[in-house]
């Protein structure tokens, strides 16, 4: 990955910065220039609190080259408390512990790195919230 792209994505990768449509209230992650629900262009910044629940998951056994050493790993669609959904890894768990609606919390982690001289790319992964 090249540095302009990585730098541009830092607010979402590092801080889960989202936007709320001032007209209809829909929250967008990542932010958009126009609301797909009401066509408004008026937004306010919001931060996702980082808590959500698992809607569905898979365990990737055949991985892309960059993630080959990590396989098998869990990928889930998580619905955040704010209502937005995102795709991320679920880590520090045994796949058998996952369940529909399992509560998770987002944690800051290394996501990938390609090549010796390239940028180490960070972002959020989910961990199970245990009682």
């Amino acid at each position: 990955m090249k540095s302009p792209q990585y730098t541009r994505e830092i607010p979402q990768r590092y801080r889960l910065e989202a936007q709320k449509c001032k007209q209809c209230g829909k929250i967008h992650f990542p932010p958009r220039l126009i609301c797909d629900a009401c066509q408004s262009r008026d937004f306010e910044d919001v931060h996702l609190a980082g808590k959500g629940r698992v809607l569905t998951w898979t365990v990737i056994h055949v991985a892309p080259a960059k993630f080959d050493l990590e396989a098998p790993y869990v990928i889930a669609i998580v619905e955040m408390e704010e209502g937005v959904r995102l795709t991320c890894q679920v880590v520090d768990c045994n796949p058998e512990e996952l369940a529909l609606n399992a509560p998770v919390e987002m944690v800051f982690r290394r996501i990938q790195e390609d090549g010796q001289a390239d940028i180490i790319q960070y972002g959020h992964k989910a961990v199970l919230q245990r009682e």
Partner: protein
């Protein structure tokens, strides 16, 4: 808009075709379609191709193919909508003839996937690079997310998914162009290696080289042709949706398939029950079930029951993927949508050989890209 007919069809064998180049695959399919149409005239051409750039390092595909087909200087345009590239190419050719701008247009699709490229990474470009692929998800992984959600919501079982692959392989045994013309069992599917839990290797369509082409023509031209029974395109529709699976309201419901098919039923003035033979985009077993539900062939959650009851086999009430589908026929991604039109046309002409559906008069072809963010639906009517 005027009526448009399918004048000719052609396809290469699908498979690992190491002796054939990217351009040769296209030319072979196009020449077969031109021969089948018994015409020398071509006004323009569209070439569906998902990723010549990533698979073989080649872009600027329109001119390349016009040149190697010996048809320069006619206009030639490459069309890309991920795995719906072929369906989109057919739709553009249809619109060009329907509008009156051209009389005879070639729509084709081609993909060369076995030349050594990182196929998993190339296919993943059909998903959201920044918010899905960044985290390590693969295409089988995205459909696995749909499959598990479908299991939670409707109680769909692992065995029911396997039955889709078993049925399509059975159909594939009757298709001389199929990559995998052999039968498999539910037990073999369940014992195949895990790709993205719950999907296993035999739930997945293969990596394939191949090309397909169809010649579309105006009524005036088609009615002079004597080679085959007439097949009319009764509807051509397309819809777009959220690229990221997580942005869909219902992860188990393909809303673009529903939208495109509703438009197509309206245009053809039919209801889903009138369709005699169907080709759907079964890139993974779960996809065939979700597509059947979005096409309104049955209620959401009930498609697996129809597969289990044999209703979607040849001889059943609603045969689906008589060609073997993407699963057994093979899935050269940009070509699949065009190969579907070729199969439906062959069925409606009564030229489908061992896999002929008796008295097929209306056929439907559904092609989609990514996890369904692009979808085309074509309805064809045989006038034999």
């Amino acid at each position: 808009m005027r009526d448009v007919y399918v004048l000719g069809i052609g396809m290469t064998r699908f498979g690992e075709l190491w002796a054939s180049s990217f351009r040769d695959l296209f030319v072979e399919a196009a020449l077969e379609a031109i021969g089948d149409a018994e015409t020398d005239r071509l006004d323009s051409m569209y070439i569906g191709c998902m990723s010549g750039g990533l698979f073989v390092g080649q872009e600027h595909i329109g001119a390349l193919m016009a040149d190697y087909l010996g048809r320069a200087p006619i206009p030639a345009t490459r069309v890309e909508s991920a795995c719906a590239s072929g369906g989109a190419a057919v739709r553009l050719a249809y619109l060009e003839v329907a509008s009156g701008a051209s009389e005879i247009v070639l729509a084709s699709g081609v993909e060369k996937m076995t030349d050594g490229a990182d196929v998993t990474a190339a296919l993943a470009t059909a998903a959201d690079q920044e918010y899905e692929v960044y985290h390590g998800v693969t295409f089988p992984g995205l459909y696995a997310l749909m499959a598990r959600a479908h299991m939670f919501k409707y109680g769909t079982t692992r065995e029911q998914l396997a039955q889709v692959a078993v049925k399509n392989h059975y159909h594939g045994t009757m298709n001389p162009n199929a990559q995998y013309p052999f039968e498999i069992t539910v037990e073999q599917v369940l014992a195949s290696s895990m790709v993205a839990d719950p999907l296993r290797l035999l739930d997945c369509s293969p990596v394939t080289d191949g090309a397909a082409a169809v010649i579309l023509a105006s009524e005036e031209i088609a009615k002079k042709a004597q080679a085959h029974p007439l097949v009319r395109i009764a509807a051509s529709a397309q819809a777009s949706g959220a690229l990221a699976l997580h942005d869909r309201d219902d992860i188990t419901y393909l809303d673009t398939v529903a939208k495109a098919s509703q438009l197509a039923y309206q245009q053809a003035r039919i209801t889903p029950e009138k369709v005699d033979v169907t080709e759907v985009h079964d890139c993974f077993t779960i996809a065939e079930l979700c597509v059947m539900e979005a096409l309104d062939y049955t209620e959401p959650g009930k498609a697996a029951n129809l597969v289990e009851a044999g209703e979607t086999r040849i001889g059943g009430r609603m045969p689906i993927n008589t060609s073997g589908g993407l699963k057994a026929k093979g899935h050269p991604v940009g070509a699949s949508g065009v190969a579907q039109i070729a199969e439906i046309t062959a069925q409606l002409r009564g030229e489908a050989g061992d896999r002929q559906v008796a008295e097929a008069r209306i056929g439907l072809a559904q092609n989609m890209g990514g996890t369904g963010a692009s979808c085309t639906v074509h309805i064809l009517e045989g006038l034999a």
